[in-house]
């Protein structure tokens, strides 16, 4: 929370004036290249955007992290309050929340947490697509940081303003140039919190799939499966998305779905040992041991850093094959013309 403070007067002002040159030096660069270029090219981009459906939670002291995250999560369909998020993200001794923990907390709620590419153009594209962006600003200076989270919701380039849900202000209107400076000090950090069927407007394949894979660690397999399906519509030949699809199906005990995905992966990426290894495992689980062993052998032939795991897969399949062979023998009602002879010598 920020308090009102009386302005200094008299000699203090004169002293302040004396230090202006130094101050100008300390405050760093004054230019706003991104704002200038966005203004110049405004007719091509989203010059006026309005993101709807973002509720406002006024923050309590030091709680801009939980408040901003709660706004983004509610927009993404998760009913949660800042107070519920505080024990999940707040660091009492730092009197604040770390970016990484906001990301992790969004994922704990089963949502895709995606950090956008730095720069005003990405931010404007996301707002234009109707996605609110949690941003980290340094409201102070590099040597006296005042870190602050807020949620960008609206922008109007012609009017030179961006609108943030910030602190205790539901619609903080900020000049673009000032925003650019405060935002640049965090390295233009912006976070999207999306439902799993919605791709970021500025999506990049690698970071997106990493964001989805992180949901698996948190056992949000349903959400991850939807997100992999969304990813496969955008990148039908993505090996990671296909394997992820198989893995989430497997975790959800959807064995036919998993087999389909692994087969697709192996067909489109015949050099991937992981595709063959996982295919071998699902085939073994479905009882197709001969085909499973073949796939595992193939994975070992392909090699790679995970070859030790492929060998383990094969070993287990061979154990099961051995068990199956032994269990077939003593069954009294099966036809076994060759067995007695084979066992006599």
């Amino acid at each position: 929370m920020r308090d009102m403070v009386a302005l200094p007067t008299g000699s203090l002002r004169r002293r302040a004036a004396g230090g202006l040159a130094l101050i100008a030096l300390l405050s760093g660069c004054a230019t706003t290249p991104q704002t200038d270029s966005v203004r110049a090219s405004a007719q091509f981009g989203h010059e006026i955007s309005h993101v709807s459906g973002v509720p406002f939670f006024p923050q309590k002291a030091y709680q801009c992290g939980p408040a901003s995250l709660a706004m983004a999560l509610n927009w993404a369909g998760v009913r949660v309050t800042p107070d519920q998020l505080t024990p999940e993200v707040y660091l009492p001794k730092r009197k604040g929340s770390l970016q990484i923990e906001l990301v992790a907390a969004a994922r704990r709620s089963g949502r895709i947490a995606y950090v956008i590419q730095p720069g005003l153009p990405s931010l404007l594209d996301e707002l234009g697509a109707g996605n609110p962006v949690v941003i980290l600003e340094n409201l102070g200076l590099s040597w006296y940081p005042v870190w602050h989270y807020a949620v960008a919701v609206d922008v109007n380039v012609a009017a030179d303003e961006i609108v943030l849900r910030s602190g205790e202000i539901a619609r903080q209107r900020m000049p673009l140039g000032l925003f650019e400076r405060t935002w640049a000090r965090s390295g233009d950090w912006g976070l999207l919190v999306l439902p799993p069927d919605r791709l970021p407007a500025t999506v990049q394949k690698g970071p997106y799939l990493r964001a989805v894979a992180a949901l698996e660690r948190l056992r949000h397999f349903r959400e991850a499966r939807v997100a992999y399906a969304t990813a496969l519509r955008r990148w039908p030949d993505s090996l990671v998305a296909e394997i992820g699809m198989g893995n989430t199906c497997y975790a959800l005990k959807d064995f036919p779905g998993a087999e389909d995905a692994y087969r697709n992966a192996a067909r489109l990426h015949p050099g991937s040992g992981i595709a063959y290894n996982n295919l071998a495992q699902i085939l073994a689980d479905e009882g197709h041991l001969a085909e499973a062993a073949e796939a595992a052998h193939h994975a070992i032939t392909l090699g790679g850093p995970l070859v030790a795991t492929y060998r383990k897969t094969l070993a287990e399949i061979e154990i099961r094959q051995g068990v199956d062979r032994r269990s077939e023998l003593p069954l009294p009602h099966t036809e076994r013309p060759a067995t007695p002879a084979r066992f006599r010598h």
Binding site: P87, E88, A213, T309
Partner: protein
Amino acid sequence: MNKFSLATRPVSRFLILCLVFMGIHVAAARAQIIGTETMINSRAVTSENRARVQAFLERKEVRKQMLAMGVNPKNVSARVNSLTNAQVADLAGRIGKLPAGGDFGGVLFIGLVVFLVLLYTDIMGYTDVFPFVKKHAR
């Protein structure tokens, strides 16, 4: 009593053996599916085991730091476990240094010089610390 224990000893031995074999059997039936996160990281990893050990140690370190930062012990595990290995590596040793967004609790604590600098930079539109400084859209 003694008789009873004599009689039960072979039974308990048998049970122990059963449990041991069951354990082996369960271990052997464990799936060897390669996880998506492992797959994503496998290109950068030379040794799976080394990476696993490193991740384990870093997680321990992050847990310790979070406790030192005043996080309630009953929340620490959930918070550490929900981090990916890459995030844990980012955090380990840096929890005290990374930006912690939290605004700040009242400008009265700022030294006078800092206050004047920030007031000036606020007026000039470089910073946005004080709400009472009017910002004009240019």
